[in-house]
Structures are given as structure tokens and as C-alpha cells.
Amino acid sequence: MTGPFRTPTGGRIDRTRPIAFTFDGRRYTGFQGDTLASALLAAGVKVVGRSFKYHRPRGLVSAGSDEPNALVTVIRDAGRTTPNLVANEVELREGLVAESQNRWPSLAFDVSAVNDLLSPIFVSGFYYKTFMWPKSFWSKVFEPVIRAAAGFGRAPTAADPDGYAQRFVHCDVLVAGGGPAGLAAALAAAESGARVILCDEGPEFGGSLLAEPAATIDSAPAAQWIAATLATLAAHPRVTLLTRTCAFGYYQDNFVALLERVTDHRAAPDPALPRECLWQVRAAQVVIAAGALERPLVFPDNDRPGVMLAGAARAWVNRWGVAAGARAVVYTASDSAYAAAHDLRSAGVEIVRILDLRPDGGPATAVARAAGLTVETGAGIDRVLGSTAVTGVVTARHRADGTTAAGETLACDLVLTSAGWTPSVHLFSQSRGRLRWDAARATFLPGTPHEAARSAGACNGTASLADCLDEGFAAGAAAARDAGHGAVAARRFAATGTAIDIGGFAGEAPHGGNRDRTRAFVDLQHDVTAKDIRLAVREGFRSIEHVKRYTTTGMATDQGKTSNINALAVAAAATGTSLPAVGLTTFRRPYTPVSFGAFAGASRGDLFDPVRRTPAHARATVAGAVFEDVGQWKRALCLPAPGESEGAAVAREVRSVRATVGLFDASTLGKIEVVGPDAATFLDRFYVNALAKLPVGRCRYVVATRDDGFVYDDGIVARLAPDRFHVTTTTGGAARVHALMEDFLQTEWPDLDVWATSITERWAVMAIQGPQARAVLAPLVEGLDLAPEAFPHMSVATCTVAGIPARLFRVSFTGELGFEVNVPADHGAALWDRLAARVAGHGGTLYGTEAMHVLRAEKGYVVVGQDTDGTLTPDDVGLGWAVGRAKADFVGKAGLARPDLAGPGRRQLVGLRVEDPEVVLVEGAQITADPAPPPGTHALGHVTSAYASPNLGRGIALAVVEDGRSRIGTIVHVPMPGGSIAATVVAPVFWDEEGRRLHA
């Protein structure tokens, strides 16, 4: 025995394997096969949680994932702490440590239970009506108190060390739900040869059959049929069986997300296993076999520990060998509760009375009476006695005129309730299928599907076991057929078992209490009572969505699985309309909560976003590089010598390039090869520049705009042959420039015969820049004369460099004599080694992006995305010369002609000079005409680039300023927290204005 409420025999637990666990620090023992819920119940633990608002003591209500009260935190260690788990979904394992939530200092004595005394004030939406005075008190006093009281579990305090996996699969038929209907559907689909996935949220297949061992299918006991069916399915190679796997989200075009819990139930999980696996399934056909949820009756103090669903009590006794109490009162509007009464009685529970709300009971009534049970029809519960546990009930007798007569007091420790069953239409509704209202049975059922999906079994409103099996099998066969597989012979099942009552009673049950004051709970977790819903309606909240939001009913972690229909019925009664007229709230994903980690999967750390490294990355690392992220790339920011600061390294690198020579890894530049008879025509239209007549062997600096006329990217276009161009882009712009090229080639100019191919990764690029660049490079080059007149600035040629086939560019982004050597990526590191050695031999240095930025800023070269911001035209940034205005067409031509892109007041790129050479302006600082600008002063522009220039021995800055070019020579002000800095507007070139060094 593992507790006073464990039955001597029965259940699917393994009584030979006791398991020790703790709850709130106390040690308990359960059996293999127990859930935390069943083990606590067996041990006689009645109170398992506290409610959200009133902190009322709460016990278990349901045996499934719809449980509203029993939320616990399960702790393996600081990082492996999981709050808000439903105790029914926590399988017992050796050493399990669980704690209750939302109580202080303890579950038995919770200080916040004082809220319950204030409940006459703390009604729905009370907080919208108060806490408004004094004004500052809301966020300083009231809100912190509310926040501290709210919330359930505590988030873990350490990073989660566990892994999460994701799988992407296709199948012909996905069956969601492994109860009788789902098993039959999978069987039929498997027989047709279809690829089938069958999943169920529980640890074993069988669904409702697991709680009903006396049921038979084709003359065999249910358990035997399940085992045989699973064996058959397992033998099909194209069938995947997934337990502990909830189909939680239905997306467009039969894309269904499943969450598999892989290791939480293991005592010592293999560290190689993921904790959970997110299955992303694209199914040709889906069979939804999600079953139905039992609905509690709503009556005063129906939240006391010991009041539970009849079906849950039945499941605990039959499946887990736990009798939830010793003396039970059954309160029902449904026949299925009678089955629970019989089964509990068989297990030794005294059934004190069955109170049937229905005036004449149902078919089960006479059977029960014949079996010696006391049944009172047209009767109910007026109130529940006891606070931390049920001690009894006061019955009520309902008269035909709707009034209620007081009944008698019955002592009991257990109240079983059932209002009827609600088909689980969650997935169907998520799939955007339309629900229909079945007036006869007062329930919502799947109507017209939106996806290739079928509902079968209880979720489709089917009540009897045989019908569920037949319907499931037929749905599985039809799904397989529609997925293109052969026909399966129809099959009918002979079965005996309990039929459930679809529909039934909804809303607040009749009772003699004052309906404005008694609390009959609808949403147990959120403490929403029937009178709260009526208050909302009284205040004008008529739509069920309004009622839901005002009262928060159905918004708890259980998402209203047991409460929504009752809430709807109470609202309908209050508004005097029918249930469907009030409307149904949307069924939102997920069906049950899903870990953030499962969605993130392997996307963490370096795998969060691909890391792109250049072929010479390892060499730069050895050379001491400090890297920065530029898009997905890692680029060397600078390469400090041992002990050297980053600032000193940058200054040294900058000086070295100007004085001798520097080597820079430019491999991250985007590269596109544009080839074809119309390649020149295409590029001429794509860039603002005139390119049609670019001679072979020459390069041109190009600017791209989109049709809106704003600068979008820049780069170099090099003509290798009449029909072949090597085009470079910015590092970050490569993908979008290429996509835009394809866009124009395929959609606007499909007549052009051109191919554009991304070659970014194909070429490693080493830039050699500085007065000694030619001396460094020339000895390595074969097949090309590097002399200034033979290979002038902006030339391109193919040759070999250090024995490697190369595309050699004479280009410069530093203002110095410069070359960029492109070699196949595999040779990038080798080329780096040769060049680095020669650069060192000439007294030069390696340099990184920061030095590159200083060098280009000294020359006034813009960086797209830093000196431009998507609102500037080529002319604004001084590149108006590049625009081929005579061209008949180019991307952006019409956009640039818009009035506000050409008129006065445009921001233009200029340089700024501050008197004090030590002052380096701050990038992003604003520029004003007023030296002491009051708040709200209009900014003339802002500083886009600012560096300490080692070559000039002073700070330099680029800026965009309104009508900047006409302000050259005037003073503007840069307001800073410590006061404004005056600066003179100057031309944006600080170094070698004539460009002589470039052409050396």
C-alpha cells in the first residue's frame, strides 16, 4: 500500500515497483505507473494548490490535462525547474521533487487567503474601478502589491541545460488522439499502406478505455484489444506511434505541431536525449480523435477539495487503483457518472447518494436503484460543507416551478459531479473549421472543415464505444483513400462500454442560495464565479469575448477546457439569449502549454544564427584579431599586438597603411557574377551609373537605388569580358541585392538574357593598400603588368597571384594605391600567408574594419547604412556624379524626380571640423543652428561618422546636414549633455583631395 486511499488491487500501476517522491518537502511513496496526482490522492493529500485570486485551498478535479487546480513546480536542479505543470501530466519517477505554488508560507496556511474575505469587493474587474487616486500610487503602491500576489510558479533561476529537438516529417494520415476512435483510425489507415502518425498526450494509448477495464471490443477485454491493435500498428513499417505527444497546434495546409515529452518521466535521463521534441508534421490528411471533456456542475462552493469530476474519480480507481474518498455523494446531470458510482462502490467507497439534476434521471437511474444505490432525481446540492476538505453537502430538491426546497445534510468526503461531456473541438477549430451548434444536444460540434481533416469519435459528438470505433475506422480508411491509398474493407466493431452524454446541462445549477452573493465557481483556477459573469453582463459586456476579458474566465492555464461552456451558458442566461447567440471564444493555440525551449530547439548559442567566417578567419585569430559581428559575418575589427589596446592598434594600422602598406581581409563583400549577352544592358538599368559602355578590363564604383530613389547599396562593377561582369556589394547587402536583381530579371525584364549568380563564398578577397602595395604584390603576380599606365586605378584582370588563379582589381577604399586579389576560397588562407609575410617584410601591417573605416572617412568615402540611412539620395551623399541622368531608364530614375527629393532642405553629406583637435564628435549626435537649443529644437542633421584621425592628428567627422553644401564655411552646433560643441562645416574630404595617391 502506498497510502490510505490505495485500493487493494486493480489499476494499471505496477505494485511491485514502489517509487519514492517528495511533495512540499514531505516524503511519499507511489507506484510505477502513477502520476503525481494519483500518488498524492492515494496518500490522502487533499489540498494540492491555491487559487489565483482568492487563494482558496484547492484539490484535484480532473485526471487529465484539463485539470485547473493542481499546478506544481517540479525541481531537478536550479536550471531544471519547471513551474506550472499539471500534476496529472507529471509521471512519478524515483526521486521526484514537486512543490505546490501560489502560497506563502505554506499550502496549509497561506497569508493571501485573506483575499477570500475581501471577495465581496474583489469581484470581476474591480481593479478597473479603483486604485486611481492618488495618481502616482498605481505604479508605486497598488500595482506592486497586485503583481506580488499574482502569478503561479516561479521561473527557474538558472539557464536550462537540457536540449530540445525538432523533427520535420511528412505523412499521409496524422491521427491526433489515441483513444478508441484514434486507434481504429490508425488501424484502417495503416492497412491501406499509408504513412501514418498516431499521437496521444498520455503515456500510453487507449484513452478512455484505460479507465474502463470492463469494456470489451470484439469480445475481448479492452486492454487486450489495445495491446493487439498496437502490435498490429507497430508491425507496419510506415506507422509511427508517439505517446506523451500532444498535437497542440493546427496551422495552414495541414501543418500540425506536436510536442513529445521525451525525458521528464525518466529518473536518470540519458544526457544525449532531448528533453522534448517538437514534431512539425505536414499531413496529407488529418483525423482528429481528441475525445471529449467532462464538464463539472456549477453550484455554491463547488471548489472545495474533494469535489471532482465523476469520470476523473472513475479513472483514478480503475486506472490507478486509488479511491478518492471513503464516502461519496454523486451530483450529476449525466448517465456516465452512474458508471463512476458503480465502480467506486465496487472499490469499497460508500455511495451516500446520487443526486440527479434531471427531473426523472436517465436510463442509468433505474439500473442504479436496482443495484441498491440511493438515487434522488430532480435534486442537487445547495452548498458544500468544509473548507480545506469536503465534510458534507446540503442537498436541494428542485420543484417544477423552478424554486428549490432545502434538503438534508449528508456527510461525505467526496463529491463527484458531471454535467455532461463537451466534445474537444479545439484542434478542429484551430484548423479554422466552422463549428455547428447541435441544438438537440446543446453542444458545439465540428461542422464544415477548412482543412483536409475529419473528426471521429467523441470529439465529433459520437457517444457509444462501438460507434466511436466504427467512425474512427471509417475516418482512417477515408483519409488514407483521399491521400491516394487503396480502399480498406469497412469494418464494424462489437463493443460494450459506457456511453457518454454529449451535451447535457450547462450553466449554474439551480440552488436555494442568493445568486448575487453565493460563489458558484465556473473557472476554478481564475476564481471566476457565475455571479461574476452576471455582473459583467449587467455592466454591458455582452459578447462572450467581452465577458471573457472582463472576468478572465477561460484565460487560465487550462484555457477554459472545463469552464468555457458553463461560462457561455451563464452569460446566455443573463443576456436572455441562446448559447450560440452569445458566441464562442476562439480556440487559440496551443492545446496545452508548450515550452519555449521546444520552439527554440537547437537555435541557441552559435546556432542561433549561422556564423559566417572568411577563409582566412583562423589566420586572423592567430594574429590576435578582435572580431565584430557584421550581419552573420565575423569580421576582424582590429588586430592588436600582445599588450596593445584596441585604440592603439587601430591608430597603428591606420598609420601603417598611409605610410607603407596594409593587408585587409575583404572576403565578406557580397559578390555576384552577372553573365549573358544582355548583361551590360541589365547592369546599366540596375545601377544608377552608366555602365553600358564600360570597357572590358575596367571597373566602376556603382550606386544602387530602388525605384523610390533612395540609396540602397553600393559596390564595384568590373567587366571581365563583353558578356561577363564581376559585381561586388556591401557585406550586409549581398542577399537583398541579388534578390532584387532576380526580381527585375524575372518579373520586369524577362526578355533580357542574363544570369546572376551569387559568388560571395566562392572567392576570398585580400586587399593590399598603401604606397608599397605594388611592391608587395608585383613579385607574386604572373601574366599581368602592374605598372600604373598598364594597370591604372579601376582596372581588373585575370592572372595568377602566388601561383593561384586570381581576379585582380586595382581599387581602393582607403585613398591609397590599392589592389584587391580575388582567389578561389580554398586558397584564401594560403594567399593570406604569402601576402602577410610580404607585407610584414615591407614594414606594413594587417588591418581590420575599424582602421578601414578611419581610412575611408579621411577620404570622405561613404558607408551605405552608416552615412546613409535609407532616406538619402545619391546626390544627398555627394554621389550625384554617379547618376547617369541621360540614360533612358534605370531603377530609381522616376523616384529621384519626385519634388521633395530634389528640392531645397535635403540633408547633404559634409565634413565637420572642430577647433580643438582632441575633440572627436559622437556618431549620432544631432546638429543645430542654435548653440543652446531648447527642447524641441529642429535638428539640421546628425553626425554619421566620427573618428580620431592619426594621420591628421585630430578628430574628423562626416555628417548629413540640411543644405549642407551651401553651409560650408559656416558654424553649426553639436549639442551634448555637457554643452554644445561648435563645428565648422567643411567639404567631406580630409586627405589627399586631389587623389594623387590613388593613382600612384
Partner: protein, 417 residues
Amino acid sequence: MRFSFLSLLRNAFSAHRDWPEQWRSPEPKPAYDVVIVGGGGHGLAAAYFLAAEFGIRNVAVVERGWIGGGNSGRNTTIVRSNYLLEDSEALYDHSLKIWENLSQTLNYNVMFSPRGILMLAHGHHDVQSFTRHLHANRLAGIDSEWLSPEEARAFCPGLNISKDIRYPIGGATLQRRGGVARHDAVVWGFARAASALGVDILQNCEVTGIRRGPDGAVTGLDTTRGAIATRKIGVSAAGHTSVVLEMAGLGRLPLESTPLQALVSEPLKPLISCVVMSNTIHAYISQSDKGDLVIGAGTDQYVSYSQTGGLQITAHTLDAICELFPHLRRVRMMRNWGGIVDNTVDRSPILGPTPVPGLFVNCGWGTGGFKATPGAGHLLAATIARGEAHPIAAPFGLDRFARGRLIDEAAAAAVAH
């Protein structure tokens, strides 16, 4: 009945039987001076300000479903004004100033809570861009300060400022006046206050046509609850703006409607006290008073009128959240939903008159409309009342696209180079 603790206490003694409807649900009148199309926060705010500030009380708000059922009730409730461009700064700060007193103005606790907006910078380019924001905000008189990574973590404990993550945090800006509010309360508060001033709120009233006279000016609308005559219509229909304006012959606009997703976790004890935003890795998170972590996901790129989106959007958001807060991997998503947002090409709203006389529009708020609720409503009301754009709204006219005078916050924030 005025809301206060005393009135709550008094009603507790009468079991709350005497609370009146928060807003009336009248039958439509045959004519109104102004009809606002769209019963979200923006539309209700416009109606409220028409009545409260501009003395125009013969106003109807027509809503095809239930008020607040669109983006007003589907957003992540972030309120801030630390925008980059001067026109945007003026617009959003106008709104923030109304937020600061809104509970008292409406006598409805909208729970505006200036918890601080922490915007994370990842890498050098972000730092540059954020510095520009910082200086622009300071010049405009909008509070904004720079926090080092350590200061950011001190402000938001649990934030992962390790240098070893894929995109390490290089710092953050903080707007202390920014925060969150209770979205539904804003809708109901405006509805209650507007209704008390005589505004008719007509729910389940879908516009099916816009009537225009021979001069082209509007003369009324057809609805599922009958025809309504009016000379002035203010359209505030968010994702459905294109559908409504097409009825007035304004079919093609610089506007696209896309799904935007959001999600909440299960309720947790307080752990995140401010709003944390990262534009670079696409994550927005705050914690509601109820304890739910409220997380904004991204938009799907395609035009959509169905309030659902793809799983990859959720996944991409949550992997970013787990990078910033690696101890949240075991926390679970409880609910995920979508709204339809209307985006302009420059990601700034359109607010002002249209080419159709008597027809005014307030749309294009994209993913950021909630924060503008009171301000946009006020400016739409002022614009309708005056017949021409309010000065703060003037730069946001529909004509700016043709002129090329875009207010492009997204482009101005630039992209990695």
C-alpha cells in the same frame, strides 16, 4: 456612476446589483454629425475627444464585431515615444502625455504603468544607431538614457549580457516614461466616457457601403444595421482600412495588411519588471500584472486577413527570448494569437483628410498602434472637427508618398552594412 474605491465598497454591500452598463447599446439614429468606422481604441478615442474637447456629441462609432476585438485587444501593450524622427517624436510624445493622465481623465483604471522601456543594442552598428536615437530624443525633450550592459542587467535582472552569445548586448537605451497599459481597459474606458457624453456605440454594425453626393463628398454609409446619414466619416479600421476605403473608391493605397503574432506564457511570480525590446534579434517581452510573460512575435510578410500566422514566427521569437533569458526555456507558452496590422511603405501612419471630401482616415500604424491610441484618437478628432490636419498630424498625410516626403523610421534605423 463614478468609479472609486468608495463606490466599489458601497456596491459590495448591495452585491454589485446596481452597477449600470459601462456604455449604452442604442439603436442607430438615422443621422449623425460624425461617424467613426472602427470600434477599437483609436476609433473610440476619436469619438471621445470629439465629444469631450470639440463639442461634437452627435457621434456614432460603428463596429462590425465587438469593441476592442481587433488589434486593440491583441497587442503587447507597449507605450513609448523614443522615436527617431522629429515628426514621429512629436506624434508619439503627444500620445504619451495623454497616457500619463488617462486613468484620471476617463475615470477608468487603464493601468498605465511606466515600467521603463529597455531597448537592447547588439553590436557596433546598433550602438551607433541607438546613439543617434538618444541624441535625437534628448534634443526633442524626450527622456532617454544610455545603459551599459551591466546597468541594463541591473535594471532587468536575468538579462543575459554574456559576451559569448551569438549577438552580445552592447548596451541599451532606457525610456523611463515608457511602459505598458491594460489594453482592454483602454477600449472600455474610452467607450464608457464617450457613451456618457452622448456618443452612440453601435456594435455588430458592419459598414457595407459609403455614400457620396454628386460633388463626391460623403453623404452617409450603409451598414448591416441600416443606412446612416453623415457628412463626416473617420475611418479607423486598422487591417481592414483598405476594405472600407475601397467603398469610397480609394481602392489602392500605400498599405498592406499582414498578420502579427503575439503570445503569453503561463503566469509566473514577478521576474521581469520592465519592457525589454530587441529589434535586432526580434524579441519583445514584458510581464503583465497577472504574471504572464507577454511576448511580441514578428509579422508574416504576406497580405492576410486571417488572424493566424506561421509557427516559424513563434519559434523565431522564442529562440530570441531564450537567448536573452536562457532560464526561461522551461517556461511554457500558454496562448498564441494574431492580429491584422496595416503597414505603410515607410512604416509611419497615415492620419488626415483623404481626396474624398468628408472622409478622414487614421491607419497604417503597423505593429505600433497601441501606444498611439489616445494621441491618434485626439488628432483624428481634431482633424475632423477642423476639417484639416492638426499640425502634429500634418506630416502624416496621404500625400507624402507622391511627394517623396516619407517618414521612414525603419530605413532611418538603417540596416547592417
